[in-house]
Structure formats: C-alpha cells, structure tokens
Symmetry: C2
Subunit: 315 residues, 2 copies
C-alpha cells in the first residue's frame, strides 16, 4: 500500500523498490528508506540554509510528546553527531486531565532513550493552579488563550534558565500555512511579520526556530510511523480554534487538488516577510518595537504588565 | 423576505422600516433605502480617503455590462454632480459568441441613458481575429490567459486614446480577497504588490483604480437589483479559473461562518502592501522596476516584446 493514494503499481524513483510514499507535489514515489533520507536531508538543509543553529549553541526543544516535537527531538539529537551543540528538552505540563499525562510518558521515555536532559515545567508549580482549575475558577477565560499565554511565558523562562540561546518549536508546514491564512483572515498582519522572528531584539527573549517548517504534517506522521516512534495521537480535550480547523480542512482540500499549495503559501510568506521587515524597519522601528519588560516579572512584554502576570493576578 | 438569511421579523436599524438586507459582518439590518445610502457612502468614502479621483481627471471606465461595472458606471456618473471630472466608458468586445453581444446591449443602453460616451474596442478590429477564432486556430492557448493579455493591452491603449489619466475597474471585495489568496497559493507575491498600483511610474501606463474594492459582491448584486438596473448575469462560456472558483467557494463558506473575513483579508493586504512597497522601494527599485516598452508596439512591458505582440505575431 502506498500512502497517500497514488498511481498503482509504482516503484521508488531512486531505487525501484516498491514505493511506500507518493509525494504529489514533487511528483515522485519513494520507498521507506528514500523517503526518510529525503525527510532528513530537507531538515538539515533548512537548518543550514537559514543558519538556524550555530556551532556550540544551546537549543531548548519545546517537547510536547506529540508526533512533531518527538520527531524533532530525534532529528536534533542525530544532528548533534555532525554539528556540536547542546540540546535540552522542556515539557510544559498544563495540568489537563487524561491528556498531558499520556504525552509526558512519551517525552520522558524518548529523552531517556536519547540521553537528552528533560525539564518538566508545570502550571501548578509555577502559578499554583492547573489549567483545568484555572478554567473551572473563571468560566469567562478561553482555554487556548490562557494556555497559549502560559506556555509561551514558561517556555521562554525555562529556556533561559536552562542556558539556551535558541528555542526549537515543532511547527510543521501545515501549521505555518494555516497561521499565514489565519492572520490574514483576522487582519493581524503584524503577527504575521512577528512570527518569523521577533521584530525587536531583547536579551530576555529566546529566539524561536522552527526546523520542521518545510515538512508537511502528513510527512511528519509518516516519518514517525516508519521510524517506529511510539507517539500518541491524542487531541487536547479543550476545543481547538474553530477557524484553524476550518482553514486546515480547506488547505487540505486545496493541496489535494493543487499539490504544493502549502509550500507555495509558505514561500510567498517568506518573500513578503523580507520586504515587510525592510519596510517596517525603515518606517517605525525604535518607536513601536522598543524593548519593554513586564513591571511584575521582568519578562519581555509589549505592555506595562505581561499577559501572564495579568492572568495570574486575577487567579 | 430579508436577504441573506437573518434573524426573523427584523427592522432597519436606521428607520425601523421592514429590513430588506442583513449585513452579518456589521451586524445590522437595513431597509432598501438605507442599504443603498450605506453602499453609496462607502463608495464615496473609498474615493475620498484613497484620493482615487482628483478634480478635473478624465476617468475611463472598463465597462463589461455585467453587474459590477454597470453599478460603477452609475455611481461614477452620480459622483460627477459633486466632483467635476470627465467620464468615458470602454467596452472590450472579445468576440465571444452568445455572450458579449448580450452585455454589449446593456453597456450601450446604460451609457446612452447617462450620456456617457462609449468606445467599443473589438479584438477583431484590433488584431484581425475574434477570441473564438484565435482559440480555434491554436488549441494550445488558454482562453483566460489570451483574453486577459488582450483586454489589459487594449484597455490601456484605448484609455490613453480617450485622454484618460485613470482607468476604473469594477473589481469588488470578493475579487480582491480571492486575488490575495490566489497569489499566495501560486507563490506570486510580486503580483500581489503590483496589483495595488504599478511599482514603476510609466507615462504610457494608465493607473487603475478600483472604487468598488470594499463592496462585497453580494451587495453589488443587491444594489443593482434594488436600483432596478437591468444587467445580465450570463457567465463567460470559457472555463473560469478552477483555482479562483475553488477559492471563491471556500471564502464564501468562511464569510458565512466568520462574517467580515473578506474585508479583513483585504485590510491585511492593504497594511502589508504599505510595508512591502517601502521594503521593495529601498531594496531593488530602479533595477527591477525600470520603465520598459515593447519594441513592437511601444506599450509598457516588462519584457522586450509585450505579451500582446507575442500572441499577435503567432496568429
């Protein structure tokens, strides 16, 4: 069986072994071995071309235990053989019953296997309350908003504590393309420019890298499967953004009919991002993007008090 | 009956008369009178805020005879009462059997009614062949590509001949939002920046204005209906772009669920366009965007020979 659907009785374009994967956007058939080779090459090329990781960096990986971050853990661990850098993993335990506990097992097991030090940072320990408790206490809070604010804050803080100068995130190509469209549809163009990298340098902000940003989600899943990684595919019980779900479905339909749509959206964004950064840089940098720190916790914040401390103070 | 579907037994938010239209993105109900007032106000605001038409300009309107350009003809004609400018209309007759002949009747009738001078420019007279004949002669040509190249060329040329310094196009909000997404999905970001206005000034290029760019397609249709304009809703018999059709449907679905999506996409684009133009201007203006004219016809062209002359030479 070749995944996804493809012309019948096909063979790998590299070695003529039976094909395991069909890449419609290429279009090409690959056996399992050559698919994994292509996947790993693309990962290393992304790192190299964009200069994502420098020699002797310390990279903190945001490890949820899901397929994307687990695949990224293995790829980064492999990469250490050819590029000397330090790798640590951080798992945020939000305190979501019947969900995080499962992926925490994966995170701990995979880190132990690869001898990557793991820090588990819990909402409960940091703020006194689990996410479940926070949401029960204040029904007006939106789960994904609170969780996003807390996770971003704690990831940045613990990455710094771990001595990291880079924070690696498991975002794949689908996440990137969806985010481009979502920010367009919400009229938040500034977020679009910010999501490449922060517009203002700040020594308290650990820059994020997304080494899987050119890997379609489907391929990350196939890679995890072929490598035999035992990841859980449990979904977070809190409602996902309805808009993201909608856009995900539309994008998948468009990709099916016009293979390569996701990577073209992403490439458009990269080009436009370059122009926009230049335009913004000359326009209002220094005024709008001055460094600013939260008066309560001292972490980077665009307002006087950061969103994290804002929520904490009301708990 | 209120169009589109809306909460029952609703009244106009302005005068409490029975509502005729429900604007989900506002959200507000309007009677026919107040809907038309809103529609016309938005049109004048767009012209004013963006400085689209200056006093004593000569505006050539690309008039197909469909709903968008016919509505624009009436609005521009009305506008002449408060803003002195010259208005002429240009209809391109591509030579498409059982299609253009119908809209030509509308164009002629409405121009006569409003006393707007009309030029009919035909593919046949200009190039010796109707579109139908060109496509029959060379089966490899894509209808929309040939037609687009010819129409753009002839509109620009006849606008100049009519002494116009502006070319008004009936593009509505849906066209704009679709184009933003299409250019993203095709990885043609430069087209995106160009479609606001040309990146290089050229005395041979008549700048285009799109005064309906903030009017949703549905509202243009409702306005035409309420005003009693007798426009035809015939579709061009040549296959429309499959991708545009797809994107149109997705956008309509998203607009239904998240009212205001189209205008937010458009507003994002406007903001990003400003940043990109600044970035490009400082980056490679003067090199990539130097003025260039076709060696055959002398019209603006990014290549040595323009696409129009390229097709003509092969006929």
């Amino acid at each position: 069986m070749v995944f996804p659907k493809s012309p019948k009785s096909s063979v790998c374009s590299k070695c003529h072994a039976p094909a395991a994967v069909f890449l419609a956007y290429a279009p090409t058939h690959l056996c399992g071995h050559h698919f994994m080779e292509m996947f790993e090459k693309r990962f290393r090329k992304t790192i190299r071309e964009l200069g994502l990781i420098k020699k002797n960096s310390t990279v903190a990986l945001a490890l949820s235990g899901g397929k994307d971050s687990t695949v990224l853990l293995h790829l980064l661990s492999d990469l250490q053989r050819s590029l000397p850098f330090k790798l640590v993993a951080i798992t945020i335990d939000e305190g979501i019953a019947n969900y995080r506990s499962k992926t925490l097992i994966v995170a701990k097991r995979e880190c132990k296997k690869l001898r990557v030090p793991l820090r588990v940072v819990s909402f409960k320990k940091e703020s006194g309350k689990k996410l479940d408790e926070i949401l029960r206490a204040d029904k007006s809070l939106l789960p994904c908003s609170v969780c996003g604010v807390f996770r971003r804050h704690l990831l940045n803080k613990s990455a710094k504590e771990a001595g990291a100068n880079l924070l690696a995130i498991g975002h794949n190509l689908d996440d990137m393309a969806q985010t481009v469209l979502m920010n367009l549809m919400r009229n938040e163009p500034l977020r679009l420019v910010r999501f490449g990298e922060p517009l203002a340098d700040d020594e308290k902000f650990v820059p994020r890298i997304r080494p899987l940003m050119r890997a379609p989600e489907k391929e990350v899943a196939i890679y995890a499967m072929l490598k035999g990684f035992k990841v859980t595919f449990t979904e977070c019980p809190y409602a996902h953004s309805a808009l993201r779900q909608e856009i995900r479905n539309h994008l998948n339909e468009l990709e099916e009919k016009y293979p390569g749509t996701k990577i073209r959206i992403f490439n458009s964004f990269v080009t436009m991002d370059g122009w926009m950064r230049k335009g913004i840089g000359n326009g209002f940098a220094g005024q709008k993007f001055k460094r600013s720190h939260c008066k309560t916790c001292g972490e980077p914040s665009s307002a006087e008090e950061c969103a994290y401390c804002g929520i904490i103070s009301k708990l």
